[in-house]
Amino acid sequence: MIRTGIIGLGKMGISHCAILGAHQDINLVAVCDASSLVLEAFKKHSKYQCFSDYKRMIDSTELDAIVIASPTRFHDEMVSYALEKGLHVFCEKPFSLEYAKGKELAKRAKQLNLVNQVGYHNRFIGTFIEMKRLLKGGVIGPVYHFLAESYGPVVLKESNSTWRSKPAEGGGCLYDYASHTIDLVNFLLGRPVKVSGTQLKMVFSKNVEDAVYATLTLESGISGQLSVNWSDETHRKMNTRITAIGKRGQLIADATELKIYVTAENSTLNLEKGWTIKNITELAGNVNFYLRGEEYSAQIDYFINAIKSKSVENKSSFENACQTDQLISMLQADGAGNY
C-alpha cells in the first residue's frame, strides 16, 4: 500500500480524493485544504487525518506520495517541499506559473529519482491514444496542418469572484482550458515552439482572457491553429478536439470518438478507404473505480504503477508540463497587445 496524502480539495482535488480513496493499492492517509468549511466536512464524515497546513501534513504522516491540487500559484513551493521530503508527486495542471521554476523542479525530481506526473488526463483517453498510434503508423501520410480546439461553458457572465479570474494566480482560459489543448498537441503531434497571431479575447472577464486564438508551429515545422473558448455555452461541458490533416487523410479525435479518413485502404492497420469511426466504448480500458471518466482513474493507476516499478520516465512528466507552461507564456507575450 502506498501511503498518500492530498493537498487541495477543490473541484479536481475532491475528485482525485475519491479515486485515491477507492484505490486498492493506495492508503489515503491525510487531506489538506485551506477552506474551513471543506475541512469540517472531512473531519465529520471521513476517516482521513485533516490538515490546513501542508507542511505539517507532510512532516507528520510519513507519506510515500502526494497529490497536489491546490490553486496553481502554490504549486512551486508545495512540489518543491514534497520532493525534498522524498515524496513522489502528482500535481494538477497547469504545472507552474513560471516555467523556469517548473524546469528546476523537473530537474530536481529526476535527480532525486522521484516519480513526477502532471494531471493532463487527456493523455489517458482511449480516442487520443489511438490517434497517436495511428499517427505513428503514418496512416494519413505527412501531416501538414492541425486544428486544436477546446470549448466549454465556464464563464458566462461578468463576475470576478474566484482565483480563476485573477491573472497572477493562474486564472484565465489559457491556464485553465488551453493548457489541455496545447498539451494534447505536444502529446499527439510534437512540441509547439513558436506562436504567432495570438488573439486573447475578453468576453465577460475583466482581467483575464476568456478565449484564445493563435497559430502554433511545432519543432518539426508543422503549423496549425489553436482555438479555445471557455465562454461558449453551446457546449454542455468542456469539449476538446484535435484534427490532424495529412496528405493521405485526416484524423479527428475528441473524448468520445475518433474519426479516420484515409485516401487508400491500409491493410496493416485494418482500415478501409474512406471513413472509419472508432468510439470510446471500444477504446476505453476498464478501470476498477469510475468517476467522471476512465482517464482520471487511469492516470492515477499509471502514477501508482510508476512508483511500484520505480520508473521516473513519465507519460505526463513535469518536463512535458513545463513545455506547455512555456508556450502559455509565449502566447501571453504575443497576445499582450491584442487584448
Binding site: K11, A18, N288
Partner: protein
C-alpha cells in the same frame, strides 16, 4: 418498478459515444414541446415511468405534464443533481457562493444570519435542503423513486462518506414517502458499502451491457454480483451508447436473472416501438424458459 423505463439523455444533449450526435440531439430537442412530443409517444406505447435528471428544462416540461390528462398514471424518477450546473458554478462562484446561489429563497436569510457556522453545523441538513430545492420542479407529479446521480454517489463512495448515502436514504423515505435509489458506475463496491451501512436490497441503477462498457472492475464481477440478487436493479447504458446492435444488447440484459428494470432512451416512434417490442420478446422467451424449468 416497471420492467421498461424511459430515459432522458437524448433530450439534453448527452451522448457517450459522439459529441456530434449529442449536439444534433440538443438542436432537435431545443424546445420543451419537442421533448413532450416524444414523451407523448412513450405514453401511447404504454411506458409509464420516465427517469430524468433535475435539469432546469424539467421545470417547463413538468408543467406540461401536470396539465395533460393522459399523464395521470405517469411516474417520474428524478435523478439529482444535474451536476454540470453545480460544477460550472463552483468554478465561477466557489463552493460557498454556489451554496448561496442554489439554496431555496427562505434559507438565504438563515445563511446570512448564521453564515458559515450554520453550514458547518450540519452537512446532512444542507444536503436535505438541496434535495428539496431540486424536487420543487416535480410537485404534484408522482415520484415513487428518487435517485442520486452517479457522479455524486460515486464521489461519496470513493470519499468513504457513507453518512450522506444513508442520510439520503432516510430523508427520501421520511420526507417524500418514496424509495431512494442510487445511480452508479461501481455497482459491486456500492452494494457492499450500502449493505455494510445497514441498507438492505437497495434500488440501484448501473451500467450493464454486453460490451462491458462502464462496468468498473469488469463484466465478470458485475455478472457475479447481479446473479446474487442483493438489490433491485435497473440496467442502464444497455446499448453502450449505441455501439451494440440493439437486439443483441436487449437480449443480454433481458436474459439475465437479477435485473428488475431496463432503462433506455430514444428519439423516434420507430426506435421506441422497436425497443419495447424487442424487450417484450426477450421477456417472453425468459418467462417461457423459466416455466419449463
Amino acid at each position: 418498478m416497471d420492467r421498461v423505463i424511459f430515459g432522458d439523455n437524448q433530450f439534453f444533449g448527452i451522448n457517450h459515444s459522439s459529441d456530434e450526435k449529442a449536439r444534433a440531439q440538443a438542436i432537435k430537442f431545443k424546445t420543451n414541446e419537442a421533448v413532450k412530443a416524444v414523451l407523448d409517444i412513450v405514453v401511447e406505447e404504454g411506458i409509464n415511468t420516465f427517469m430524468c435528471t433535475t435539469h432546469d428544462r424539467m421545470i417547463g416540461i413538468g408543467e406540461m405534464i401536470r396539465r395533460d390528462k393522459r399523464y395521470l398514471d405517469f411516474k417520474i424518477y428524478p435523478c439529482m443533481p444535474y451536476a454540470h450546473k453545480y460544477a460550472n458554478a463552483v468554478t465561477e462562484l466557489g463552493i460557498m457562493g454556489t451554496i448561496k446561489h442554489y439554496l431555496p429563497g427562505n434559507i438565504i436569510s438563515t445563511l446570512t444570519k448564521g453564515g458559515l457556522a450554520f453550514v458547518k453545523k450540519d452537512f446532512i441538513s444542507m444536503m436535505e435542503l438541496m434535495v428539496d430545492a431540486e424536487m420543487k420542479m416535480f410537485r404534484e407529479i408522482s415520484t415513487p423513486v428518487i435517485f442520486i446521480q452517479n457522479v455524486i454517489t460515486d464521489l461519496l463512495l470513493g470519499l468513504g462518506m457513507t453518512d450522506f448515502l444513508v442520510g439520503f436514504h432516510n430523508y427520501i423515505r421520511e420526507r417524500y414517502n418514496a424509495e431512494p435509489g442510487y445511480i452508479t458506475m461501481n455497482l459491486p463496491l456500492l452494494l457492499d458499502t450500502l449493505e455494510k451501512a445497514g441498507i438492505e436490497n437497495p434500488i440501484i441503477c448501473a451500467s450493464i451491457n454486453k460490451a462491458g462498457f462502464r462496468m468498473s472492475g469488469g463484466k465478470a464481477n458485475y455478472e457475479k454480483v447481479i446473479a446474487q440478487k442483493r438489490c433491485r436493479l435497473i440496467a442502464m447504458q444497455i446499448f453502450a451508447a449505441g455501439t451494440i446492435p440493439y437486439k443483441e444488447a436487449i437480449e443480454y440484459v433481458c436474459e439475465m436473472d437479477g435485473i428488475e428494470s431496463v432503462l433506455f432512451g430514444a428519439s423516434s416512434r420507430v426506435n421506441i416501438k422497436n425497443s419495447i417490442e424487442t424487450i417484450k420478446t426477450y421477456n417472453r422467451v425468459r418467462e417461457e424458459r423459466a416455466a419449463i424449468e
